[in-house]
C-alpha cells in the first residue's frame, strides 16, 4: 500500500544543515533518487529471509536518505549497534553507508530528483534494531514506518509548541539508535523542521553553532558537562531532551540554567518508544495518547500506547519498571529485574555477579550500582568473598593490581560499562539482625575515604592548590559526633600527605608533621582549598586548608631524607 510519502510538509525551508550550509529539499530529493537507484541494483543475498540491508552511515542526512530510499523500495533497514568486524560477520546482509568504501554505492553529486517524494508502504517492517544487549540476550525489535511516524507526530504534538518554525535540531546522541532516530531525525523530517548533520560530542562544540534557534537532543552524560560550554555561541535554545539513563535533578537544573530553556527528561524504551516526560524531579506526565496502569501485586508499569504494534495494543506492554501512579502523575521506583542503566545501556548486576563467581579466585560476589556525587556517573561496585587461592594472591600484591587482574579476566565477557569500578574484599557480607544483607549495608562499604579533587589553575611557584569537595557520605563523617560531623584533624594531615605525594612527589607520612595548628572546623558539604607549598628548597612541604579565605588548619612536613646540604 504505497500510498503516502513520509516527509510531509513542504515548508520551502532546508531539510538539514551540513557544515553550516543548508541542504535544500531539492538536493535531498536528488540524493534520494541516487540512493534508490543504488539500492535497486543491490543483491540482497541469500542469507536473509526478507529483502534488507544493514545501514552504517555517520552522516545524519545521508542516513535519512538511505532510510527513506530503503523504505520506498519495501526494504527492511537493519540498524547494527556498531560496525565492529564481529557485528559485520553476524549480519550477513549487504552493508550500506560510508562505513566502508567498498559499499560507497553512490556519489553524492546532487543529481536530479523526482518532483515528489517516493511513496512508502507504511506497514512493512521498516527498521530492525537490537535492544542494548548488555543483559546477555539482546532482543530484536521491529518497527514499521507507520509506528515511527506515529512517534514523530506524538513528539511534535507534545513539544512542537516550544519551537519556532525554523528551530534546528542538533544531537549529542547517535541517530541510528531508538532514541536518536525518532527524536533527532524522524521528528524533524516529519514536521518539516531542519536538523544539523554534525553531532555535538563535547560541550565546546556548542560554541561553533551558527546563530539560530535550536533544540538539543541529548543524554545525561553530555548534559552534565554543558555548564562548561562556551558562552560565545549565538545559539538560542528552545528546549532540550534527555533520555537513555536517569537525569539527576541538579544536572537538569544546571543544564537548563545554562541553556536558558526547559530540559525535558524522557522515559521510554526501544520497545515502547517515548512514554512520559518530566522536568527536573517533577512527576512524569504521560505523552499524548499514552495510558498507564499498574500491574498488581508486582507494581510493574503497564503501558498502553499508540506506538505499540497492533497485537501489543490489546493488552499493553508490561515494562520491567516498578512504579507508583497518582493524580500528580507517574513515579518510577526502579527496575523489577535489578537492571541498572549506565551510560544509556542496560546492565544486569546479576550477570556481573555470575561472571565474577566463574573466576577461580572468587567464592561469592555482590554487585551494586553506586551513584556518583553531584550527578556523576553510576559505577558498579563489587563486594567479593575470595576463595583461599584468591586470598593468597590478594595478600601478595597491591589491592588495585589484584582487582585489575580480576577485571582483565572479564574483558570480552562483559560490556566495558558493566565492569565493576570499585572493589571491596570481605570475609563475609554484612548482615543485619535478621541475617539479611541489605543494599544499604553493602553501600556503606563504599563510603569514600577521599574527597573529589579539582586542581585550581594558575597556582604560583612550585606549589599546587586543590579544591576539595567533601561528599556527605565520606567515611570520616560517620561515627564520632553524629550531631556534629567534622573532618578529623588526623584525616586532614593524611590527605595533605597523600596529595603532596600525588601532585608533587613529596614523600611524607602523618608522623613527619610539625608546626601544626587547627583553627576552624571543616564539615560535610564544605569545599575547602588545600594549598601545598614546597619550602626550604623542597626539603619541607607546608600545607594549608582554607574555607573561603578563613584559615582551617596548617602544618609542615619534613622530608624523610633531608635534602643534602653542603
Amino acid at each position: 500500500m504505497a500510498e503516502s510519502r513520509w516527509v510531509l510538509p513542504e515548508t520551502g525551508g532546508p531539510v538539514a544543515y551540513r557544515a553550516g550550509q543548508a541542504i535544500s529539499r531539492t538536493a535531498f530529493r536528488g540524493d534520494l533518487a541516487a540512493a534508490r537507484r543504488a539500492l535497486a541494483g543491490l543483491d540482497p543475498g541469500q542469507a536473509t529471509h526478507r529483502p534488507c540491508f544493514a545501514l552504517s552511515e555517520p552522516d545524519a542526512c545521508r542516513f535519512a536518505v538511505w532510510l527513506l530510499a530503503g523504505w520506498s523500495l519495501g526494504l527492511t533497514v537493519v540498524l547494527p549497534g556498531d560496525d565492529l568486524p564481529v557485528t559485520r560477520e553476524a549480519l550477513p546482509m549487504p552493508w550500506v553507508g560510508a562505513g566502508d568504501a567498498e559499499n560507497a554505492l553512490v556519489s553524492w553529486a546532487g543529481g536530479e530528483g523526482e518532483k515528489e517524494d517516493p511513496g512508502i508502504d507504511h506497514d512493512h517492517p521498516g527498521v530492525m534494531s537490537y535492544t542494548s544487549g548488555s543483559t546477555g540476550k539482546p532482543s530484536l525489535i521491529e518497527k514499521s514506518p507507520s509506528q515511527l511516524r506515529a512517534e514523530a507526530e506524538m513528539l511534535e504534538r507534545s513539544f512542537g509548541g516550544e519551537l519556532t518554525p525554523d528551530t534546528r535540531f542538533v544531537a549529542s546522541v547517535p541517530h541510528q539508535h531508538m532514541y536518536g532516530l525518532p527524536f533527532f531525525l524522524l521528528w524533524p523530517l516529519a514536521a518539516g523542521r531542519p536538523f544539523v548533520v554534525e553531532k555535538l560530542r563535547y560541550p565546546e562544540d556548542v560554541g561553533r553553532l551558527p546563530p539560530a534557534d535550536y533544540v538539543l537532543i541529548s543524554a545525561p552524560t553530555f548534559l552534565r558537562h554543558l555548564p562548561d560550554a562556551p558562552r560565545s555561541s549565538g545559539a538560542r535554545w528552545r528546549m532540550a531532551t534527555s533520555a537513555g539513563s536517569p537525569l539527576a535533578p541538579e544536572v537538569a537544573c544546571a543544564a537548563g540554567a545554562r541553556l536558558r530553556a526547559p530540559v525535558f527528561e524522557i522515559y521510554g524504551s526501544t520497545e515502547t518508544g517515548a512514554v512520559a516526560r518530566r522536568r527536573a524531579d517533577a512527576p512524569w506526565q504521560p505523552m499524548p495518547g499514552v495510558r498507564l496502569a499498574l500491574e498488581e501485586p508486582s507494581s510493574r508499569l503497564r503501558i498502553h500506547s499508540p506506538l505499540l504494534t497492533e497485537s501489543e495494543r490489546t493488552s499493553g506492554f508490561l515494562s520491567g519498571d516498578l512504579a507508583r501512579l497518582d493524580e500528580h502523575g507517574l513515579e518510577l521506583l526502579g527496575r523489577a529485574d535489578r537492571l541498572v542503566k549506565i551510560g544509556e545501556k542496560r546492565i544486569s548486576p546479576e550477570q556481573v555477579e555470575r561472571e565474577l563467581t566463574r573466576l577461580p579466585e572468587v567464592a561469592e560476589a555482590r554487585v551494586l550500582p553506586l551513584p556518583g556525587a553531584q550527578g556523576e556517573r553510576i559505577a558498579l561496585g563489587a563486594v567479593v568473598i575470595l576463595r583461599p587461592e584468591g586470598r593468597q594472591k590478594l595478600a601478595a600484591e597491591k589491592k588495585n593490581r589484584f582487582s585489575a587482574r580480576l577485571r582483565a579476566c572479564l574483558v570480552g565477557r562483559l560490556d566495558p560499562l558493566a565492569m565493576p569500578r570499585r572493589w571491596r574484599y570481605v570475609e563475609a557480607f554484612p548482615a543485619n539482625e535478621l541475617g539479611k544483607t541489605t543494599r544499604g549495608d553493602l553501600e556503606r562499604l563504599f563510603a569514600p575515604e577521599f574527597p573529589r579533587v579539582e586542581e585550581v589553575p594558575g597556582t604560583s611557584g612550585d606549589g599546587v592548590t586543590l579544591l576539595l569537595k567533601l561528599p556527605a557520605d565520606l567515611v570520616w563523617f560517620a561515627g564520632h559526633f553524629p550531631d556534629l560531623p567534622v573532618l578529623p584533624g588526623v584525616v586532614q594531615i593524611d590527605w595533605a600527605a597523600h596529595y603532596g605525594k600525588l601532585y608533587l612527589g613529596f614523600d611524607a607520612t602523618a608522623s613527619d608533621v610539625s608546626r601544626l595548628k587547627f583553627q576552624n572546623l571543616i564539615r560535610p558539604g564544605d569545599s575547602p582549598r588545600l594549598e601545598l607549598l614546597p619550602r626550604r628548597g623542597g626539603s619541607e612541604l607546608e600545607f594549608r586548608y582554607t574555607l573561603e579565605d578563613k584559615p582551617c588548619s596548617h602544618g609542615t612536613f619534613v622530608a624523610k631524607k633531608p635534602a643534602t646540604t653542603p
Binding site: K199, G372, A379, N400, V411, P416, R452, V453, E455, P457
Partner: protein
C-alpha cells in the same frame, strides 16, 4: 619534560575518573587505556576529553578514529597534548 607531563596526565586521569587505590606508578606509559589495561569505557572518554580540553586548551575532534588514537595510552595522550596545547 614529557615524563612530567605523563605523570601530570596520570594524576589527572586518577582524579577525573575517581579511581580508587590507583597511583600514577600503577599506570604504564604504554598501557592501553581502554579495554584490557586500565579498562576505561565510553563515558570515561567523554569525561577525560572534556577535562583535557579545559585544562590544556585542546580541541579533540568528534571523529572517532582520531579519538581512539589519542586515547590509546598515556604516552599517546601526552604527545597529543604537547603538539596541540594552547595553555
Amino acid at each position: 619534560m614529557q615524563e612530567d607531563l605523563r605523570h601530570e596526565i596520570k594524576v589527572f586521569i586518577i582524579e577525573a575518573l575517581n579511581m580508587e587505590d590507583v597511583t600514577p606508578e600503577d599506570i604504564g606509559d604504554d598501557e592501553p587505556l581502554f579495554g584490557e589495561g586500565l579498562g576505561l569505557d565510553s563515558i570515561d572518554s567523554l569525561e577525560l576529553g572534556v577535562g583535557l580540553q579545559k585544562r590544556y586548551g585542546l580541541r579533540i575532534s568528534a571523529e572517532n578514529e582520531e579519538t581512539r588514537r589519542i586515547f590509546a595510552s598515556v604516552r599517546a595522550l601526552a604527545d597529543y597534548v604537547t603538539a596541540n596545547r594552547t595553555r
